[in-house]
């Protein structure tokens, strides 16, 4: 058990585990976790059984929704999300790439009508060989996921 990570148990919160190494920092930024002012424990480049190295994020007092989980899956499809209440895992989301991502990111097309009107951004997700592409419902332009999320 020499490689076992010593993670302090949390009472209430979320543990995002099995994040591919290097993606953890993107997830912190994407979900604006640091701005929460809650206690966050981050582990980068931890040894992992399945992946060579993994990242891990624990956020206290913050429960993730299914829609946040689907945003995450664009960046870390292998990650697992454990929602913890009273020291027990109350919910466990396995990641899967969603068909649609709504209200998560702004459309990168600056002339897209969605920026100035009372609507949520809305992308349909298409998996390509080496990329995930997001197509805006309004302007119909397709973008690589990295452009959409500006990471």
């Amino acid at each position: 058990m020499a490689n076992k990570l010593q993670v302090e148990a949390i009472k209430t919160g979320t543990v995002i585990d099995h994040i591919p190494a290097g993606q953890g920092i993107k997830i912190l930024k994407q979900l604006q976790l640091v701005e929460l002012k809650e206690k966050i424990t981050v582990g980068f480049n931890l040894p992992s059984k399945d992946l060579e190295l993994k990242d891990l994020i624990k956020v206290e007092n913050r429960l993730f929704t299914e829609s946040e989980a689907s945003q995450l899956s664009l960046f870390a499809p292998s990650a697992t999300i454990n929602v913890i209440e009273n020291y027990v895992v109350k919910d466990k989301f396995a990641m899967s790439i969603p068909d649609v991502v709504e209200a998560a990111f702004d459309c990168p097309n600056s002339n897209c009508i969605s920026h100035s009107e009372p609507v949520n951004s809305h992308f349909t997700v298409k998996q390509k060989t080496n990329d995930v592409q997001l197509k805006c419902k309004y302007c119909e332009k397709s973008f690589s996921k990295d452009i959409v999320a500006d990471l």
Binding site: N111, S114, E140
Partner: protein, 307 residues
């Protein structure tokens, strides 16, 4: 049974099925033969041009009047109180759609027509939204091809010129792919067909080739669809050197098939020599006229259950 386009929004070519496109084309042909002034009788159509586009607007307004309808609207949205008071497009559309039976809309921003369709209580017809879609242009192109070839199936279409920025080329390719056409793309390298579109063709198993010159395909093409290469995109010497390759004149047409027709969304500058106008291959002026019939067909179909 109601026609499948009754009360539908017409926003984007990929929304339309092959059958729906065929219905529009055949209805346009019928209305060209036999105008019917009862189809929009007692109907008021809102013609909302948030951006000027004289020809599109005039052809819509002609179509409305020829079918016995009337229209309300504006032709320069930037100058209206809508823009000056800073009202959202969503709110403007909600109000205007309560006055009219259908709403034709042109807007400088991409996605405006889709957004309008979410707030409108009546069918929205997209008359062009920024650099995105211009479905009535594509439908008039389809109608013209059907009219001059007698079919849309299995034709060889050569697109020439600026294939990168030409939205008419993009949607027409998407539409014709539904009919099993094959394509030749003839353009300067920097203005080639975007990859996402050729990816779609690959996925559908549609055959296409990129070629260097019009001469290489003229003996096999059924349609040559010309577009303009904009000078502004190149420096002057580069432009002169290159543009000559994408100009159509009598010589270029040596060996053309009898049924070949040349289309162009107009206005042309010098990419088709005037001498070509007198050949039986020229079809671009008929094509421009056909805009009215294609728009008549759309309006008639979205506003009449049976037609």
């Amino acid at each position: 049974m109601a026609n499948p386009l009754y009360k539908k929004h017409i926003i984007s070519i990929p929304d339309l099925s092959r059958d729906e496109m065929e219905l529009i084309v055949k209805t346009a042909a019928k209305l060209k033969q036999a105008p019917d002034t009862r189809l929009l009788k007692n109907r008021v159509i809102a013609s909302c041009f948030f951006e000027a586009s004289t020809r599109t607007r005039l052809s819509f307004e002609t179509a409305i009047q020829r079918l016995g309808g009337t229209f309300i609207g504006f032709d320069n949205g930037g100058n209206t109180s809508l823009a000056k008071k800073g009202e959202s497009l969503a709110d403007s559309v909600k109000v205007i759609s309560s006055y009219a039976d259908a709403l034709v809309m042109r807007h400088p921003q991409e996605g405006a027509a889709r957004l309008a369709s979410e707030f409108s209580s009546v069918p929205v017809i997209n008359g062009g939204d920024g650099s995105n879609q211009h479905p009535t242009q594509t439908l008039l192109d389809l109608f013209s091809i059907y009219e001059c070839q007698g079919t849309l199936d299995g034709l060889h279409i050569a697109f020439v010129g600026d294939l990168k920025y030409g939205r008419t080329v993009h949607s027409l390719t998407q539409a014709l792919a539904e009919f099993g056409c094959r394509f030749s793309f003839i353009s300067p390298e920097a203005l080639g067909m975007p990859e996402y579109l050729t990816d779609d063709l690959d996925e559908k198993g549609i055959s296409y080739q990129r070629c260097d010159s019009i001469e290489g395909v003229v003996d096999d093409a059924d349609i040559i669809y010309m577009t303009r290469v904009q000078k502004e995109r190149f420096d002057e010497t580069e432009f002169k050197h290159m543009a000559a390759k994408y100009i159509l004149n009598l010589e270029t047409l040596n060996g053309a098939k009898d049924n070949l027709k040349i289309l162009h969304p107009l206005p042309r500058v010098d990419e088709i020599a005037v001498e070509v106008d007198r050949t039986p291959y020229a079809y671009y002026f008929e094509q421009a006229e056909n805009g009215v019939y294609a728009r008549e067909a759309l309006l008639a179909l979205v506003l009449n259950e049976d037609i």
